[in-house]
C-alpha cells in the first residue's frame, strides 16, 4: 500500500434538496452542499467540522454514494489503480460508512452476527468460515464477544449500538471509511478506545477517513487535514496544526474558543 495516494476525490459536489407539497408543487429548495471539493488520502484523516445543519452528513452520504449529487462528481481510485466515478447508488466495497444515528441504521429483526455478515455478503463473500472469522474479528475490535453477536439491536444501549455500526463498517475491509460523528454518543473511555482503534487500523491498513465531528479535541487527536463547513460550503481548509494555530474563518475561531469546561467552578451558564 502506497501512502499519500489520493483514494477519493470530490469535485464541485452540490446537493439541492427539493421539498414538495403533497400536491407535488415545489415548496422549498435547500442547497445542503454547495460546490464542495475535497480529497481523501490513504493513511490520512480528513475532518469535516461545522455547525449543525451546515451539510456535513449530506457530504458524507454523497461521498459514500448513498445519494446522488445534483452536480459534481466523486471519483474513487480502486486498489488496482483504476478510477471509477461514484454516481450510482450501487454499494462500493471500498467505501463504508459509520452513521450518525446508530438506531435507525440497524435492522431490528436481525441478530448482530447476521447484520455484520450481510455487509460481507453484499460484497460477495460467501464462505461460512471466512464470514464467521471476519465477523468475530470486527466484533472483538470494538470490544464485543460472540455472546453479543447472538443478540438483537434493541438489547444494546446507545453507545453499544454505535460500536456495532463501527464493526459493520470495519468488517468489509474497506479502504475508505466515512465516519459521521462516530464517537459523539460514546462515553470518554469507549471514545478513547474507539479513537485509538481507528488510529491503529489506519496505521496498519492505510485507511483513509472522512471524519465528521463537532469535537475539536477529537479533531486534534485524529485529523491530518480539516475542512470547515458553513452553509453548505467549505469555507476553510488547512492542515490540523495550521488550523489550530491560525484559524481564519469566524466560525472556526468560535469553535476553537468554546472549549468545554473541566470543573464546576468554571461555569458559564449558571451559578452553582
Amino acid at each position: 500500500m502506497t501512502l499519500e495516494q489520493t483514494v477519493l476525490e470530490a469535485r464541485n459536489l452540490t446537493k439541492t434538496f427539493v421539498t414538495r407539497s403533497p400536491m407535488g408543487r415545489t415548496v422549498a429548495e435547500t442547497k445542503a452542499v454547495d460546490q464542495v471539493s475535497l480529497s481523501l488520502t490513504a493513511g490520512r484523516t480528513y475532518a469535516l467540522v461545522g455547525e449543525s445543519g451546515s451539510g456535513k452528513s449530506t457530504t458524507g452520504r454523497l461521498l459514500q454514494g448513498l445519494i446522488t449529487p445534483t452536480a459534481g462528481e466523486v471519483i474513487v481510485s480502486a486498489a488496482d489503480g483504476s478510477k471509477l466515478t461514484q454516481n450510482t447508488k450501487r454499494s462500493n466495497r471500498d467505501v463504508q460508512m459509520i452513521f450518525q444515528d446508530p438506531y435507525s441504521s440497524l435492522n431490528p429483526r436481525r441478530r448482530i452476527r447476521s447484520i455484520l455478515e450481510e455487509s460481507l455478503r453484499i460484497i460477495g463473500e460467501k464462505d461460512p468460515t471466512t464470514l464467521r472469522s471476519k465477523v468475530d474479528e470486527a466484533l472483538s475490535a470494538v470490544g464485543f464477544s460472540d455472546e453479543h453477536a447472538q443478540r438483537y439491536p434493541h438489547e444494546f444501549s446507545g453507545g453499544q449500538r454505535q460500536r456495532i455500526g463501527i464493526a459493520r463498517a470495519l468488517v468489509a475491509s474497506p479502504r475508505i471509511i466515512i465516519c459521521d460523528e462516530p464517537v459523539s454518543a460514546l462515553d470518554v473511555s469507549i471514545q478513547a478506545q474507539i479513537l485509538n482503534l481507528l488510529r491503529s487500523l489506519q496505521a496498519d491498513l492505510g485507511l483513509a477517513y472522512l471524519f465528521i465531528t463537532h469535537d475539536m479535541s477529537v479533531v486534534r487527536y485524529l485529523a491530518h487535514r480539516v475542512g470547515v463547513m458553513h452553509q453548505g460550503k467549505i469555507v476553510e481548509e488547512a492542515d490540523t496544526a495550521e488550523l489550530f494555530a491560525n484559524p481564519q474563518h469566524d466560525y472556526t475561531k468560535r469553535l476553537l474558543a468554546s472549549v468545554p469546561i473541566h470543573h464546576p467552578s468554571q461555569r458559564t451558564t449558571a451559578k452553582g
Binding site: 455472546e147 459523539s184 469507549i190 485509538n196 472549549v259 468545554p260 452553582g272
Partner: protein
C-alpha cells in the same frame, strides 16, 4: 428543597432468550424541585434503562420493575398504564437519546409540536402554532417557520435533537428527564440548550434528571451527580465534591480519560482498561474489580455496599476512605 422524585431500590430486569438480565440493580437517588441531578457512567451501565423505567417505557411483555419511584408523593410503580399516560409528556417529560424514536416520520415538525402544545395549554390552534415556532426558535434552529413544514428525515442530526427538546419543553414539565440531550451538538449550540434547560428550572422550579457521558456538561449544569457502573450506583455526591474529591476508582478513571484540547495529540488517549462486563457475566464481589487499579483480593470476596462518607457523599468501594483526597488525575490508568 422538596423531593420531587425519590427512587428507592429500583430494579429493572429483562427476559431475554439467554435468560433474565438485571440492567438496573437496586438504584436509589432523588431529584428535588429546582435541582439538576446528573447520571453518568460508561456506555451500557444502565443510564437509559433507569430513565425509561421512571416513565415505564420499556416493553411490558419482557420487562419487570421492582422498588419504589415516588413522584410528588405517589409511587409511579403502582400506577396503571392509563395513569402513566397522563404523567408522560405532561408532568414528566423526556428527551430521548434517539431523536427518531420520539418523532413520528409521517407528520411534519409543525404538526407534532403544535399537537404537543395543544395537549397542555388551553389555547387555540393558531396560538399553539406560534408557541411552537417560539419554542423552536429558542433552541436556536435557523428558520423555525420553515422547519415547521418539514418532516423529521429532512432535518440534520442536531436539528432533530433540538426539535425533540422543544417537544419536551412544550408542556412545562415538573420533572424533565434528558437522556444525552446534547450529544449531537457542537459546544456553542450545546451551551444554548443548557441555558434553555436552566431557564426551565428557574422559571418553573422544575427538577431535571440529566443523563450524560460528558463530564464537561456535568460540570456545567448539574447540582448533584450519580455515577453508575454495571447497573449499580457506585458514587453519589454534589458536583463540587465529585470533581474535587472523587472517592470511587471508577469515577477517577472517568475523569482521567476525559480528552482535552491541551493533551498530547500523538499519544494514545488514556482509558480505563477493559470494558463493562455483560449483564450475563456480572462479577461477584465488587463489579469493577477486573478493571480497578486499586483492587485487592478481598474486593472480589464479598458484595461491596454503598458506604456513607459524609452526609451527601456515598461510594461503593472498600478503599474509599484512603482514596478520597488523593489526586484523581491519571492514577493507574493505562495509556
Amino acid at each position: 428543597m422538596t423531593k420531587l422524585l425519590d427512587v428507592i431500590d429500583l430494579r429493572t430486569s429483562f427476559d431475554t432468550e439467554h435468560g433474565t438480565v438485571t440492567a438496573v440493580d437496586g438504584v436509589s437517588f432523588s431529584v428535588a424541585q429546582g435541582e439538576v441531578v446528573g447520571i453518568v457512567g460508561e456506555s451500557g451501565c444502565g443510564k437509559s434503562v433507569t430513565a425509561e423505567s421512571i416513565l415505564q417505557l420499556l416493553d411490558p411483555s419482557s420487562t419487570r420493575y421492582s422498588g419504589q419511584m415516588n413522584f410528588d408523593g405517589e409511587d409511579l410503580l403502582t400506577f396503571g398504564e392509563e395513569a402513566m399516560r397522563r404523567i408522560r409528556g405532561n408532568r414528566i417529560a423526556m428527551i430521548f437519546q434517539d431523536p427518531m424514536s420520539a418523532l413520528n416520520p409521517v407528520f411534519t415538525i409543525g404538526d407534532q409540536l403544535t399537537e404537543a402544545v395543544l395537549a397542555h395549554r388551553k389555547i387555540g390552534k393558531r396560538s399553539a402554532r406560534s408557541a411552537a415556532v417560539d419554542l423552536l426558535d429558542k433552541t436556536g434552529i435557523p428558520e423555525p417557520e420553515r422547519r415547521m413544514r418539514q418532516y423529521p428525515h429532512q432535518l440534520s442530526g442536531g436539528q432533530r435533537q433540538r426539535v425533540m427538546i422543544a417537544m419536551a419543553l412544550s408542556c412545562d414539565p415538573e420533572l424533565l428527564i434528558a437522556d444525552e440531550p446534547t450529544t449531537a451538538l457542537d459546544v456553542t449550540t450545546q451551551a444554548q440548550i443548557l441555558r434553555l434547560l436552566i431557564e426551565l428550572k428557574d422559571e418553573f422550579n422544575a427538577g431535571i434528571l440529566f443523563i450524560t457521558h460528558d463530564l464537561g456538561v456535568v460540570a456545567e449544569i448539574c447540582d448533584r451527580v450519580v455515577v453508575m457502573y454495571l447497573g449499580e450506583v457506585v458514587e453519589s455526591t454534589d458536583v463540587h465534591t465529585l470533581f474535587d474529591n472523587p472517592a470511587h476508582p471508577y469515577t477517577r478513571g472517568l475523569m482521567a480519560s476525559t480528552p482535552d484540547v491541551g493533551s498530547d495529540p500523538s499519544a494514545d488517549l488514556p482509558i480505563i482498561p477493559g470494558s463493562v462486563p455483560t449483564l450475563h457475566n456480572v462479577p461477584s464481589g465488587c463489579r469493577f474489580a477486573d478493571r480497578c487499579p486499586f483492587a485487592l483480593p478481598e474486593c472480589r470476596e464479598r458484595t461491596v455496599e454503598l458506604e456513607v462518607l459524609s452526609p451527601d457523599h456515598t461510594s461503593r468501594c472498600i478503599r474509599s476512605q484512603e482514596l478520597i483526597g488523593n489526586s484523581p488525575v491519571k492514577d493507574g490508568m493505562a495509556r
